[in-house]
Every structure is written in structure tokens, then in C-alpha cells.
Symmetry: C2
Subunit: 399 residues, 2 copies
């Protein structure tokens, strides 16, 4: 527990001001003062300091004058895009995507590598990631020295605080200290995070949850992930662990415990078709879901049945999550959404059936089919968040 001294006070207000500028675009000092409830004089001092540090910039040009307002015009302040550069990455079993963004989150360059890294030795994966980061940085016309921070999003159970990847489908080993490995390789601070957490923050900053401070996101990919936004912050499990929804138990089946991933995991949905040669090939190339989509359109009965079963399982799970967190919005993302109507309809139906009557209507379901870039952009947001969030977490007494 940090002691509350003037330094902390300043840090809090600084962050508050900086965050208001980030959220509410170009904004004048008085508007900041109104939103933060800080005095104009304090805002002036803080913005001066931020300007001095090069984190924000005045905006003379546009001058969106509200016309016919007399008096000294407000000068709008906005984030200095060039105040920092970060790399965000999404590492999946058959695809890696990187983006370089500036301080504002604008994408400067992106790079997709459709490579299967599944179960490769750690060294090989690290090689590929390193290469991808370096290439993406070069593509942005930058050098690694210009990059302040890197965040990599992985599927599986990630311990954000320590940088360990506890378990992930793309690693044979468990408890891999990947953050340290990449930090030394790239000589740039690198953090790892659950891909679900990353895109959760991405949606909070850029996507479909900009207006909310509480929200739940469920990612349906090879692994089934969960991101919880609580009071504008990512809610991490005790110890900073990320959640692995796929391990949730749905009940007892004939073969013992029945877990969610055995019903709704990517491999569970597609797995039964491995006899089909072309399909197996498509899966290996990471096109499993799009190919499945085509099959469903062609009324492939077995796949449709799988999709329906998966939708039911996910619908029930979402109802349980809503029972626990009561978020105003649930965002669903991930490749499995490509299964289309059979999946989504059964998901909706199961959710409607399973949601307790008392909670009916408190949560809206939103489906989001953003591209992989957006995941990487979310990882970049995590990196940015770390860059200027540090002091705020330590406030509040330990009651």
C-alpha cells in the first residue's frame, strides 16, 4: 500500500486529466476542468506539465469555432500521437498479427503472418515473434529504439503480473517466462497478456464499450477466454491470472466431467470432420472456421449439429457469467462467430432460457466480428495503459 503524499495526488490528477484528453478527443482546458471537477488553475498547471513533457499538443489549425461565440477562443488539446510508440501482437496457433500504434492508438503499420506455430519449441516461437515485431516496426518506418513498450496477447492462462504464460495451447511447456525472454531479445519492455483481456481493453478504448465502465467480453477462439471490465479497469483474478473459460464445467457427462471447451472449443466443433481430407487441410492452415461456414451454408448436417451444440453451451455459460457479474453489456468475439446463424441462434436461445428471470434484460448481447488487427490493437492498448496508468492502482485504503 502506497502512502498518500502530494506526489501521488499529482499523479492521480495528471492521469485523470490525461485520460480525459484521451477519451474526449480534442478538448479545451475548461471542459477538462468541468469533466474532472478540478479547478481551472489546476488543469492549467497540469496541462502545462503535460505539454512540457510532450504528451499532449495544442491544436491551432482546425479551430472548430462554434462561430459567433465571442471571447477568447478555447484552444483544444489532444494527445500527442508521437509521444510514444508501442507494438501490440496477437499470437494464435496458426496466425500472428502485429500492429505498431502511436500514443493515440492509431495503427501505423500492421503485419499478419499466417504461420502455424502450434507446439513448436519455445525458441522457434520466440524467433518468429521477434521477427514479426521487428518487421512490423520497420514497416512503420521506425526502429526498435523508438518503441516504448510491447504487449503480446496469447490464448490460455497468462499471469500478467509476472509475465509468465501458465498454460497455452501454442506452448508445449507450461510456466514459460515469455515476457522476460522477449524483453531481452528485443531490448524493449515486453509484457504478455491474455488475448481476451487485450481485446477487452481494446473495446473499452476504441470499440463497442467506449461508453461503459462495466462490461464483460467473451472470446470464442481456439481457447475460450473472458475479460471483465469493472470500474474502468480490467478485473484480473487473484494473482493477476487470466481466466480460462474453457475449463468451466457444464455438468457430468458419460465420460466424467464435461467442460465447456469439449463442447464449444474450436477443435470440438471442427474436430469431428477430420476424416474429410480437404477440411483437415483447411483447419491446418487456419481456415477451419471459414471453411466450416461454407459447409454450413451447404447444409452439412453434422457440422450444423456441432454448431448448435456449441451455441447452447456458450449461451448457458454466458448466462452464468451474467449471473455473477451483472454487466450491462456482453461482447462476444472470436473466430467461432463465423459459424453463423445456427450457432448464434442456438446461443441466443440458450441464453434466453438460462438467464435468471430477475436478470432478464440487464445485459445486452453484442456480437463483434472485428479482424485480428483489432486484437493486436487491443494488446497495444494494454501496453499504452501500462505506460501511463502506474500510480492510479495504488490508491484507496485497504479496508
Amino acid at each position: 500500500m502506497k502512502t498518500a503524499d502530494p506526489e501521488l495526488m499529482r499523479a492521480i490528477n495528471r492521469l485523470n486529466v490525461l485520460d480525459t484528453i484521451r477519451r474526449h478527443g480534442p478538448i479545451s482546458r475548461i471542459e477538462i476542468s468541468e469533466r474532472t471537477e478540478l479547478s481551472t488553475t489546476t488543469v492549467s498547471a497540469i496541462t502545462a506539465s503535460l505539454l512540457d513533457d510532450g504528451l499532449i499538443l495544442p491544436r491551432h489549425e482546425g479551430d472548430i469555432r462554434n462561430e459567433a461565440v465571442r471571447g477568447r477562443p478555447r484552444v483544444a488539446l489532444e494527445l500527442n500521437p508521437d509521444a510514444a510508440r508501442v507494438v501490440g501482437g496477437k499470437i494464435a496457433a496458426n496466425r500472428m498479427v502485429f500492429v505498431v500504434t502511436n500514443f493515440r492508438g492509431d495503427v501505423l503499420s500492421k503485419l499478419a503472418l499466417p504461420i502455424r506455430i502450434d507446439r513448436q519449441p519455445i525458441g522457434v516461437i520466440a524467433d518468429l515473434v521477434e521477427d514479426g515485431v521487428r518487421r512490423c516496426v520497420v514497416d512503420a518506418g521506425l526502429s526498435l529504439e523508438d518503441v516504448d513498450s510491447i504487449c503480446l496477447g496469447f490464448p490460455g492462462v497468462i499471469e500478467h503480473r509476472t509475465g509468465y504464460i501458465r498454460s497455452s495451447p501454442i506452448f508445449r511447456d507450461i510456466n514459460v517466462d515469455f515476457a522476460a525472454e522477449m524483453s531481452t531479445r528485443l531490448s524493449t519492455p515486453t509484457i504478455v497478456e491474455s488475448d481476451a483481456h487485450a481485446i477487452t481493453l481494446g473495446h473499452h478504448w476504441f470499440g463497442k464499450a467506449r461508453d461503459l465502465e462495466d462490461m464483460v467480453l467473451i472470446s470464442l477462439e481456439q481457447t475460450l477466454g473472458l475479460g471483465v471490465l469493472h470500474g474502468n479497469r480490467l478485473f484480473r483474478g487473484a494473482g493477476g491470472l487470466s481466466h480460462n473459460l474453457g475449463d468451466l464445467v457444464l455438468g457430468m457427462g458419460p465420460n466424467g466431467v464435461m467442460r465447456l471447451f469439449s463442447q464449444a472449443g474450436e477443435s470440438a466443433i471442427l474436430g469431428e470432420h477430420q476424416t474429410d481430407g480437404r477440411f483437415a487441410e483447411a483447419i491446418r492452415l487456419g481456415r477451419g472456421m471459414t471453411h466450416a461456414q461454407a459447409l454450413i451454408k451447404a447444409d452439412d448436417d453434422r457440422l450444423i449439429a456441432s454448431a448448435i451444440r456449441a451455441g447452447e453451451a456458450v449461451g448457458l455459460t454466458i448466462a452464468n457469467i451474467v449471473t455473477l457479474f451483472a454487466p450491462p453489456r456482453v461482447i462476444l468475439v472470436g473466430s467461432s462467430l463465423a459459424l453463423g446463424e445456427p450457432f448464434l441462434n442456438s446461443l441466443r436461445d440458450a441464453y434466453a432460457l438460462a438467464i435468471p428471470p430477475s436478470l432478464k434484460g440487464v445485459s445486452e448481447l453484442v456480437f463483434d466480428d472485428s479482424s485480428d488487427d483489432f486484437w493486436a490493437q487491443g494488446a497495444a492498448a494494454v501496453a499504452l495503459y501500462e505506460l501511463y496508468e502506474s500510480p492510479w492502482s495504488t490508491t484507496g485504503p485497504a479496508l
Copy 2:
């Protein structure tokens, strides 16, 4: 968001000091300084202010001298027990328990009313609660004017922030503004809280989670409740809602959705025996579980089967909760624990089976069979918690 001014700074440090005094018993100023990492001079100023406000007291008497330590002896400071009085209550379907505690949480008087209030009109319930509170206060040798705050713990879904009881098995209606009702009746600030949340805080302050800042508690009573402690504070759902574990879906059964309460709720376990006249009578009198215990000892097959089924359902649920929150400890409380070995063993087995291998060993299961007093004491802790944060404890500038 609150603006960070010197006043907030002082309030934070004050709370920090007050909290360390509460937690670490009689404690000297330098030890406070060490623990809080505040300077001795600041600690001196703050403790002087706390002494001035009568919230803490110096302790001359005991003087547990650490033997052969020369120099001026440390004077220990401790909470002033008489700085405040609160009432905590646990309201269940067939039993109400009240305690009056002082500022330190010591129980000054307790009162148990084994009355069935189940489904009575709101006015009747309010009458009984009012009567109980008044009698308990009198028993403590006090008058209601001496009581600073009251907290009542209810089963069901409680919206702590607004004081509304969203749904509870003891109310026919939903969305009852019970806090306001009791506040006016007793002319004392009254808050309502989920009984599970109350005993969660109780365990954090007085019970089996004093050493932890993250923890999960599961209450198995008429309703199935959940309390999550996260970073030393109660984690409430978005909107301040409490959780209702019983609504969790375990899977699809023959009759549609199968919820936890239909497997592990008190009535689900005992319900099948309503044909037995004596048993039904025992249930009506709130002795259902103890009677069930006797039946189990007598090898009542049907009841044992119910208990085993309930244990399995709860075990699976706990595994899911652990998957989501990864707490170092899970505390189980509630009347259903009285079912004994058949229930507990099947619970443990199901948990062991359902916990994901990667999380094996991160959580320890602790069973707690505290009496109803402890629940009420937990409610009192909630009331005290609120008092701590209320403005009156943060008096203005220190001279």
C-alpha cells in the same frame, strides 16, 4: 471520479492508520509508522487527531513490556470500543439473529428469534425486525440513539447501493426498499446487504480470512450466495448487486434448464421428505438440517442420495468459481454443511474432479460452521466498514 486534493490525501492516510490499528491490535506509533510507511511525524499528527476524535485510545494498563528493553516504553494504541455502536442482523426465513457490537466488533448483546417470517407481508416482517433490533439494543444496555448504524443481511439478491431488496425468498414482492423503511422506523441509518457478503466481510475481519486480501466465500443456506473479496474489499457486481449462485445453470436436464438451487438448495435437499410428517414439522420450525443430520446418521437412503447429489453440484460450482477468480481460499458456510460426511465427501470429490489440472492446489477449501451470531457479526462489520468511510471520521484540518 473524486478529485485528489489534500483533504483526500489526509483521509486516505487517516483510514490507513485507523485500519492498521484495527487490524494489528494494540499497536505503538512507530509500528504504525513502519507498517504504513508514513513518517513518524505524520503518524503522530494523525493519531493525535484520532485520539482527539475519540476513535482510538492509549493503553497504559497492560503494558506488555517486551522485557529488558530500555528506553521510553511504547504506548500502545487501540480502537476505542465505545467510539460507535452498530447493530448487525441476519434475517433468514425461519430465524432472525441480531447482535449489537461496539466499534471494535465486540459483541455486546445478541438475540435470536426463531420465528418463521417466510412470505409474510412486508409490514409484518418490518415489525418483527424493528422489534428485534429494539430488544437487542435494550439488552445491550443502550438506547437507539447510541446506535450509529444498522446493517441487515438478507438472503437473495440485494442491491446494496440503493438499499433495495431485488428478490429474496422471504419477501413475496420484489424490489422492496427495505433500507429506507427501516431507516425511518428506527430513525437510524440502516443498510441492507446480502447475507453472504456480510459473512464474507465478517471472515475477513474476525474469521478465517484475516490473513488474506483475496478470498471467495460460498454460503449454502436456503439460497446459495457468493462473496468475493478482492484486494481487501468486497467485490460487488456491476450496479452493486449481490450474486445469487442458485441461479447458476449446471446444464440441461429433462425439464429444461437445471439450476444449482434445484440440486443444492435447502428445499431441494429436504423437499423430497415432505411426506414424512415429523420432518415437515421440523423444517417448518427451521430445524430441517439438524433433523436431516439425524436421519443421515440413521442411514436414510433417500436423504443420503439427496445430500450426495447436492454435494456434487456444489463441488462443480466451486470449481467453476475457482476457475474464474483463482482465490487462495474458499470458505464454505451455511446450514447445509450440517448434512455431514455424505455431503462433504461428495463435494470434495466433485471439486477435485472438476478443478482444472492447472489450478489444482491454488485454492484450499475451508469449511466453517459458525453460528448465526457470526453472520450477524458480519453484518455489523459491514456497518462498521461504512462508518469508516463516512465523512464524520474524516474531520477537517487538524488544528
